[in-house]
Amino acid sequence: MSNAFEPRIVVLCCNWCTYAGADLAGTSRMKYAPNVRLVRVMCSGRIDPAFVLRAFQDGADGVLIAGCHPGDCHYINGNLKTMRRYPALETMVQQFGIEPHRLRLEWISAAEGDRFVEVVNEMTEQVRALGPLAWKQRSAVADLSGSPHAG
């Protein structure tokens, strides 16, 4: 393999819509960028902002949160909780100096295998264009600059 930068994207998704949508992409033999790893929870309402931060901390270059379309939640309205939580999460992530395109919220239904593919490919390219996040190193640099040994 070449040494070109390959983005690493963690997808936090619900079981009923987006995970199933990704399954449909598979059964339909659609092709997409191999840069995502899915972490399944039952409902997007389960997605704790801490999971997102942990993924960035671990070294993810992007995080995609995905669930059912508003109104289609398997658990009535868990996704609306996600939707309400998201702006705060977005702000927080940006305050940490993480570019907006690295975090994304999408509604992808079980019937939208094509949409899943589209979002994954699009996000992979966007994140690729941004380059590695290396948040750990970035925050390490930030720490150093504040320490008496810096400079």
Binding site: P34, R37, M42, G45, R46, D48, A50, A60, Y75, A111
Partner: protein, 654 residues
């Protein structure tokens, strides 16, 4: 004690192994901490494959099992069962999806193999932290709701009722019977639709185990598999069913006429009406929207002529509640709006008909008493049947409607028989796949029906020569000849596409089902579970799942019925074990969890100032877990430690 993890990697024939190097996955897995056993096998879901898991649990004293194969939505239940049979708590099993999410979506073998290793590593990381859960059961209500009284619902309801289980059948229209009741003859046997359907309709009405609610709609659905609570709106009929003798005098006397839905608007019905003469129930209803009395307070002619005094002007909609163990959705199909088909002349030329309009024209109870005639009353000398109108067409519906080729053949036969007209079929492909279908096609060839292999491009009344004057002209290429034909005819029948019901989306939402990209209800698995849905206990029957002809619809109805029955006769049902749990030591009593729970499963105890989860109501969505500011709620089987471990292992970060 350290967990002892077994990892089993499936080839799925070449489905996985053709892209992912399964041996490398096994080699990688064998090196991870706590993995004491790692093997690959051709088909893990097969009997010997499951045997491998069971044997290894015993032989290697496994305390966790990871199977890397297809989607957990496919085979998680299979392997959980296998684990349980070998004495391992089924919740100590974890699945890694390296087929749908890996081998099927990637072509680069190296990248796919590395991704598969990552996926399995994350599954192992989660498995390490899994905890055993108690499987819980609740009793199943011994009653089934059947939504829709077409032939699918009728078949299902009778099968279930005959097995001794109670059925509630809800039908939106005044009568059951559905689209099949609108047909005259059925292909390929040409038996009379009414003759085979009406006895079944009567059986439904008279069956001691079936409660029939027509002119009614499901208003809401609550609960879960085995224990649904359904609210049904029974629309006001303004006719007392207990008193009415269905003599029909009121219908005869009613002065108000409106287009009949049953007759595709081709003839009128009255404001007090039954859908058709053999309607079940036979007692009429008053359509409030059209009734003169309801409009301007005068008339009541029906009441005057009603001998048994059955008219009830003060009748009200009633909402009744039913508790059922299973729901069978058989809401049927709709038809494409033909007004979008203007290039084929619909709406522009009166002698261009849709398939269903022709069915009514040809039906003995229809607007012409079954005579096939033009709008001016004369008999057509030539008829063109245009296949694939709105089907197999990206401008309309991409799918094949599956019934048109055969009903077109049936029409051709009936037209020949009744009028001796010349009949042309314009088709892309003849799809005559069922039992006796190809034979029927052959019969039509014997009858001299003309077939042109080419889709009709348009229909026009603009004559290009004298032969075309006063005719409808069909333009199509005979693709076998490479000649463009213009065929003047008297009547054009559009084999117009089958479509999802207009309210399919709302109905899907109501019952917790999904829609396929084509807009029909989505089945759990297209091949193995075409009658189940994403929601346990909700089943599908008939054309609401995809276009179907009558034999397939009946078979689907019976299949759905037997699946529902197996749930009912099991008597109990396993409920979610992966529920939420409050850690009382950390609960601050802020009640935020109570607000976010969509099921009202969380109660707050004023005395202890603590929240508590009612496990039998909790569905395990985990919204409260993510919301709790004190981290005092644990989502079983998806707890923070498990998910974080999975994230940590999602990639080889360095």
């Amino acid at each position: 004690m350290e967990p002892r993890i077994g990892v089993f990697v499936c080839h799925c024939g070449t489905n996985i192994a053709g892209v992912v190097d399964v041996n490398r996955v096994v080699e990688a897995a064998a090196r991870w901490p706590d993995v004491v056993h790692a093997v690959e096998y051709k088909f893990m879901c097969s009997d010997p494959g499951q045997g491998l898991v069971k044997d290894a649990i015993v032989k290697h004293d496994l305390s966790r099992v990871v199977v890397a194969a297809c989607s957990p939505r496919m085979h998680e239940p299979t392997f959980r069962k296998a684990c349980a049979m070998a004495g391992l708590n089924p919740y100590l099993f974890e699945m890694a999806n390296i087929r749908e999410h890996c081998s099927w979506v990637h072509e680069d073998k190296e990248a796919a193999t590395l991704k598969a290793i990552d996926i399995v590593r994350a599954a192992v990381a989660k498995a390490r932290l899994l905890e055993p859960l108690q499987t819980r059961f609740v009793p199943v209500t011994q009653k089934v709701l059947v939504v829709g009284g077409g032939v699918a619902g009728i078949q299902a309801a009778l099968d279930i009722a005959n097995a001794g289980t109670k059925v509630v059948m809800v039908e939106r229209a005044q009568s059951i019977g559905g689209h099949m009741a609108q047909l005259d003859k059925t292909f390929p046997t040409l038996d009379c639709s009414a003759c085979i359907l009406t006895p079944k309709m009567v059986q439904v009405a008279q069956h001691p185990n079936i409660e029939l609610m027509t002119y009614s709609e499901v208003e809401s659905v609550d609960g879960f598999v085995g224990n649904f609570t359904v609210k049904i709106r029974r629309k006001a009929r303004y006719v007392d069913e207990a008193v009415c003798t269905a003599c029909g005098v009121c219908i005869e006397k009613c002065p108000k006429k409106v287009p009949s839905e049953f007759d595709e608007g081709m003839m009128p019905r009255k404001a007090i009406y039954r859908s058709f003469p053999q309607a079940v129930p036979g007692r009429p209803v008053i359509d409030k929207e059209s009734c003169t009395y309801f409009k301007n307070g005068k008339c009541k002619i029906c009441e005057i002529f009603c001998e048994p005094k059955a008219i009830r002007w003060d009748d009200q909609d009633q909402v009744v509640e039913e508790k059922v163990g299973a729901i069978l959705v058989a809401t049927g199909m709709g038809l494409i709006d033909p007004h979008g088909l203007s290039q084929w002349g619909y709406g522009r030329y009166p002698n261009v008909l849709t398939g269903l309009e022709f069915e009514r024209l040809n039906n003995a109870t229809g607007p012409t008493g079954g005579r096939i005639v033009l709008k001016d009353g004369s008999t057509p000398k030539s008829v063109a049947i245009l296949h694939c109108i709105g089907s197999r067409d990206r401008n309309h519906k991409e799918y094949c409607s599956r019934v048109c080729c055969m009903y077109a053949l049936k029409f051709a036969h009936l037209i020949k028989e009744k009028t001796h007209a010349t009949v042309y079929n314009f088709y892309i492909d003849m799809r005559c796949f069922g039992k006796g279908y190809e034979e029927f096609y052959n019969r039509l060839l014997h009858e001299g029906v003309k077939f042109v292999r080419g889709k009709a491009a348009f229909v026009t009344d603009q004559a290009a020569n004298d032969d075309e004057k006063g005719k409808l002209v069909v333009s199509a290429e005979s693709t076998t000849l490479g000649e463009v034909l213009r065929v003047p005819v008297d009547m054009v029948i559009l084999a117009s596409a089958v479509a999802p019901q207009k309210d399919a989306e709302a109905v899907a939402r109501q019952f917790g089902m999904g829609l396929s990209p084509d807009g029909f209800f989505m089945e759990k698995h297209p091949k193995l579970e075409p009658f189940s849905t994403a929601t346990d206990g909700v089943f599908l029957a008939g054309a609401c799942q995809s276009p179907k002809d009558i034999p397939d619809t009946v078979a689907h109805g019976a299949a759905a019925a037997s699946t529902a029955l197996s749930l009912i006769s099991r008597g109990t049902v396993e409920v979610e074990s992966a529920t939420a749990e409050v850690l009382t030591d950390f609960c601050s009593g802020c009640k935020v969890c109570q607000d976010v729970c969509p099921y009202g499963a969380i109660s707050f105890h004023e005395d202890t100032k603590l929240a508590e989860v009612n496990a039998s109501v909790c569905k395990g969505c985990g919204t409260c877990v993510a919301t709790c500011p004190s981290g005092a709620i644990v989502g079983r089987h998806f707890n923070d430690r498990q998910i974080l471990a999975q994230i940590d292992a999602a990639f080889l970060w360095e």
